[in-house]
Amino acid sequence: MSLLSIQDLEKSFAGAKALGGACLDVRAGEVHALMGENGAGKSTLIKVLAGVVKPDTGSIAIDGAPVAIGSPADALRLGLRFIHQELSVVPHLSVAENIFLGRDYPRRWGVMIDWDGLNRRAAAVLAGLGVTHIPPGRKMARLSVGDQMLVKIATAFQDASVDGDAPARLYVMDEPTAALSAEESQRLFAVIRRLRAAGAGIIYVSHRLDEVMELADRLTVLRDGATVATRDIAGLQKLEVIELMIGRRFAEGYPPRLAPVSGEVALGVEHLSTGYLQDVSFEVHKGEILGLAGLEGAGQSEVIRAIVGADGGHDGAVSLAGRPVRIEEPVSAWAKGLAFLPRERRQEGLVSSASIAGNVSLPHLDDLVRFGLVLDRAAEAEQAVDLGRKVKLKSKGPKQKVRELSGGNQQKVVFARAIAGPPEVLLLDEPTRGVDVGARYDIHALLRELTAEGKAVVLASSDLPELVYMADRIIVFRDGRVATTVSTEGLDQARLAALCFGSPAAPSA
């Protein structure tokens, strides 16, 4: 009998169908991948299961018995555990408290909270994930985003009980690796395999096909809210999966370079230092894509943030097309033709209560005025429609609220903002995070077009193939310093990973 059986789930938001006949069947002891393009309905299905979204129709059964899940508390009681797509942490509580959120804390003499005990147990849960560098007593807000994600993942694996809870038996993970490094992903996979061996069911969502092929036993593909197929992974080709997802033939890979890199320097950085970065210098040429690589927290994000003035002052000099510039606030970066795509779309990128058009136009408002101050809404909408088409945005139109978009589509909005203009230099931190394979290809193609026009791109990414295939050169960071700079000519992924680790040999992952 199957552990979980979902039949004919339907859900519409204000008339727009998010789910229309979604079915899913998960067995105990399997990793079941849930696949689909951005906006296919994966997260919505998971939210229904989690008691966050009420379905219009459809049924859910566990061990063959129908269940009603009216609230997240109900879902937990049934033994379901979730890692949702959007990072939801409580920033001013400690790591340990985030892990035990909603559970019973250990106590001393039955009254006082046993903080040491709580921290010990949290440390044990983290250690189960192979994470030992995060102090459980630290405030969540003090952690890097990657570390926050690890804590969030650990939360799903803690087993503190609450009265009447069924033991955890089904783990649901919505793009857990989108913010993880390759190494951390591997540790997560080890835990997932352990849980599978212990008889738990796992629903796994990811746009990283390699990962899915490596980890999953079966997969179910959603298209426009409906289930189109469920298959065994064994014997399945990647291309078949892609075609199931997008419903047509598709050539996987990366778009080829359109024009050679010019000799002219677009952006120059000399002796850049902040509290963390030390003496970083590099140049990006017109028409070039410069990759930034390194382990989680090695300094790639900080370099980009320092250049645009996101964190206040820094030492060192920045020049654009050979002319020195002072950039102390992001506003001057945009004004000088630098576009910035921050790493965290929800916290740093989007005004989710505003419309798609409003989000895209934000740095470009001065170009969209009439009579000096009146916002030209028609031009604004036109810009959004135009760019939305380029990035394959799936939406109801430029006026739709960003909050209502799927995660991948939200990411496309941030990307659309960065290429509006277009700018002379693009500083992109994980630009394709959570974007489906098809749209990813289109975004990569857009980057190729922009470089062919002489624009320069700085691309920070934890997706090593993306760096190897898209970048012309890659700077590898270690501990806030430039460890080495390599050309991607003849570079392979394993070699790049080894450079990131700082060891001459490839890691044994």
Partner: protein
């Protein structure tokens, strides 16, 4: 249907209140004269609420508007007493309002004090200043030029016995200016972005600090305008007369906020909030409801009016 209730619940509540008074007070409530009257009665609150909307769009508060209104009235009255003309007094008062607002802006935007703490501090300071410069006394009588106090009584005659009050016109102009600023200019668009996500707005190239600074300046200017209107209406100035405005203005904006799906303030919705407060006061007085019962009713009606638009907005 359910979603219409969520957006229009408060508006429907307002319409029901109006219908109720129309039925209960058939002769005098639904007349042009009474509505012009109401418009004049709420005009000061309206001006403060409209400009308060500007800072609340950014997710901030300005608690100092009430004492700023008092201070502005006192400043103008003192200028009059010292023999200055109406325009000098008005300009001085508006200048004080703008400066006081910008001081709030500095504290909030550049020093980084929470708006609640900063404007609570300046509330006390401005109120103390109003007492200090006036010696705590009410300035009235001959000290107030009739050209100034006459303004609040003047209006544009519309028909026999009915005229459009000047104070109403002032409020309408402020409404238009604020509406245009918030809804039609890039300045307003940026304020909404700041209210939605300060960090994202900053990284997308918005000068968050400068805009917050300016927005607080506008709020101070609005408060001073209301203070002048109040002083003109009561033909006098005293250091506490604006104190009731703050809580009502914030309430009006919040009432309006229940009408937008994202819960952000819009000045047109604030107008409905102001009218709810104004119509309740007017209608219940005309029905000769006892003061105390009236208070209980006003509170209950406000809660009921927004309840339908709120039902089920929270989960968990």
């Amino acid at each position: 249907m359910a979603s219409a209730l969520k957006t229009y619940g408060t508006l429907i509540g307002f319409v029901l209140v109006v219908l109720f008074f129309w039925i209960e007070i058939p002769d005098t409530f639904m007349t042009a004269k009474n509505w012009l009257n109401i418009s004049q009665q709420v005009s000061m609150l309206a001006v403060v609420a409209f400009t308060m909307t500007i800072v609340m769009v950014m997710g901030d508060f300005d608690l100092s508007v009430g004492s700023m209104a008092s201070l502005a009235g006192i400043v103008a009255a003192l200028a009059f007493r010292d023999g200055h003309g109406v325009w000098v007094g008005v300009a001085l008062a508006l200048g004080v309002g703008l400066l006081g607002g910008l001081l709030n802006g500095v504290l909030v935007a550049y020093v980084g004090i929470l708006p609640f703490v900063a404007t609570l501090g300046t509330l006390t300071v401005y109120s103390g200043l109003a007492f200090l410069v006036s010696g705590g006394k009410t300035i009235f009588g001959r000290d107030i030029p009739t050209a100034f106090s006459g303004f609040a009584r003047s209006g544009i005659p519309l028909a026999d016995m009915v005229s459009l009050p000047s104070l109403t016109i002032v409020a309408a102009v402020v409404l238009l200016v604020v509406w245009f600023t918030l809804e039609q200019t890039t300045f307003g668009r940026r304020l909404y972005a700041i209210g939605g996500n300060k960090e994202a707005a900053r990284l997308a190239g918005i000068r968050v600090r400068r805009l917050r600074f300016l927005a607080f300046g506008l709020s101070g200017l609005g408060a001073a305008t209301a203070g002048l209107m109040y002083a003109s209406r009561v033909a006098s100035a005293n250091p506490t007369q604006g104190s009731g405005l703050m809580l009502d203005a914030i309430a009006a904006v919040f009432l309006g906020m229940t009408m937008s799906e994202e819960g952000e303030p819009h000045v047109a919705a604030t107008l409905i909030g102001v009218l709810i407060l104004g119509v309740l006061g007017n209608g219940l007085t005309q029905m000769s409801i006892d003061s105390y019962v009236r208070e209980v009713l006003i509170g209950s009606i406000i809660v009921l009016a927004v309840a339908s638009s709120s039902l089920g907005k929270t989960k968990g």
